[in-house]
Symmetry: C2
Subunit: 287 residues, 2 copies
């Protein structure tokens, strides 16, 4: 089967062709402008490839509830041109094929659960720390939606006692994303994270925030594994610091076989940054 | 059908008889001593009533995973006599009937979802704030377990800027439970919550903590409704303060029809403190 996969981001649209085995056969990237200019380009690509199904992992917030009137829409995004645009309907009509739809982070969680490191587990989460922070949640074999979908990048967490930065979230100030996403690092320290690799204090603080979020997600979702991805995690020293701080903060409260080996509990994304696009393939298969 | 329900608590065991309609026909309460003394009393009660099924909502942590070797056990509880006691096996053998089993807070969430205010919803949570803090999670028609079960009373949240109390959780100090459960209120202010009804500062701080947890659970679980129960919520002024602080902290970030009416989103338990025992009846029916 020829499967189309679209990782729809705020700055670029990654369009790919793949198959049931999770092989990616072709991929293009298109800048995200307006629906009027960007949609026809994407449709032309997928039409030309004769896709039989399409899966979309989309920047949010979105309406993923199939029973809702606005199912398929990108809703209250700050990207005005895309507000209330029904991307599922548009592709469904243009390509005359089934379309699967979820958030980009749920797609990444699904990609890891289908083809990656959380394969075979009932409950896992995927956290991306990059320009923003998002969490994809895979529970009992399906992606969590609830009222809408998780926005777990915006949980409130404790401040590091040496952190004087006010926080960067336009809604919540010093929520998790406001304290720990890439732009927060840059604003706090005056340089981009990539240029701060040697500054231990930077990563000690960052690890404290990510570890604290992992503790909260461990307490709330009780996942069997936590997968970490996104640009900030490219800093290799960060993962061991997160694991160590996580164990310190958990203080032995939960005793399970999964937590007995922390290096196998908090793990890096396993699919070479293809976790979301592979999740889109699975979304297409499920559509 | 004659259904047995057991709300197993650390200080008392509430044993009840009910039916499929959620009617409670008889109820006794037995002090929680050791399995050797308390189990025979409970078994005698249920045997005498000729129960055909039993549902147990139990103090934790427990092993609710049916595929695990220790399924049915109370695990690392500080109540030494009950550590690793397999309560499901003990009742199953003594009563020769199917036994349902979950945490006390999951039972309460299930009670509300089956007979109470969250009936008909796919995704709801139940938070109890009393001697401890627990969260029951009902998602897509079933109770959340994952690796174990939620322990969402122990999430990390921000401290109130005027709060100098160190926190009361033996594991985490100032986690949600350590800051906001009944014993934390008593230690911080030197008197029990029930004696502090007129002290506005007490409840402003308490509302800040509970609202902040509600924000985090709204972001993580995306529930269609949040139900609040437990002894601390008996303070009538608290609920409106929680709602108001919740809206302030959310800052309009999530726009859904459910959140449009906060008085219908964060609601008090609806089953006259019978939510857990009624959930046990449903656990028995599902067994």
């Amino acid at each position: 089967m020829i499967i189309g996969a679209l990782e729809a981001g705020g700055t670029k649209m990654v369009c790919a062709i793949g198959n049931e085995k999770g092989e990616i056969l072709k991929r293009i990237s298109i800048p995200t402008k307006t629906p009027e200019t960007t949609m026809p380009e994407m449709i032309a690509f997928f039409k030309n490839e004769k896709v039989e199904r399409l899966g979309i992992g989309c920047f949010g917030p979105i309406a993923p509830d199939k029973t809702a009137e606005n199912y398929g829409c990108i809703t209250s995004t700050p990207k005005i041109a895309w507000q209330n645009f029904n991307i599922v309907k548009a592709f469904g009509e243009a390509l005359s094929c089934p379309v699967g739809f979820d958030t980009d982070v749920n797609a990444a969680a699904l990609g890891e659960a289908t083809f990656g490191i959380t394969q075979g587990l009932d409950c896992s989460i995927y956290i991306t720390v990059g320009t923003g922070i998002g969490v994809g949640v895979y529970l009992n074999g399906s992606l969590l939606h609830g009222m809408m979908h998780t926005e777990a990048g915006h949980i409130m967490i404790k401040r590091h006692r040496e952190d004087t930065f006010a926080g960067n979230c336009p809604f919540h100030g010093d929520c998790f994303e406001g304290l720990a996403a890439g732009p927060a690092i840059e604003k706090r320290w005056g340089r981009k994270g990539a240029e701060l690799s040697c500054e231990e204090k930077v990563w000690e603080m960052e690890a404290f925030y990510i570890a604290q979020a992992c503790v909260n997600f461990c307490m709330t979702y009780s996942p069997q594994k936590i997968v970490l991805g996104g640009g900030v995690l490219k800093q290799d020293m960060l993962l061991p610091m997160i694991r160590s701080k996580f164990e310190e903060l958990m203080a032995g409260y939960i005793q399970t076989k999964e937590l007995a080996d922390i290096t196998n509990y908090i793990v890096p994304a396993s699919l070479s940054d293809n976790q979301a696009i592979l999740g889109c393939i699975k979304l297409a298969l499920n559509a």
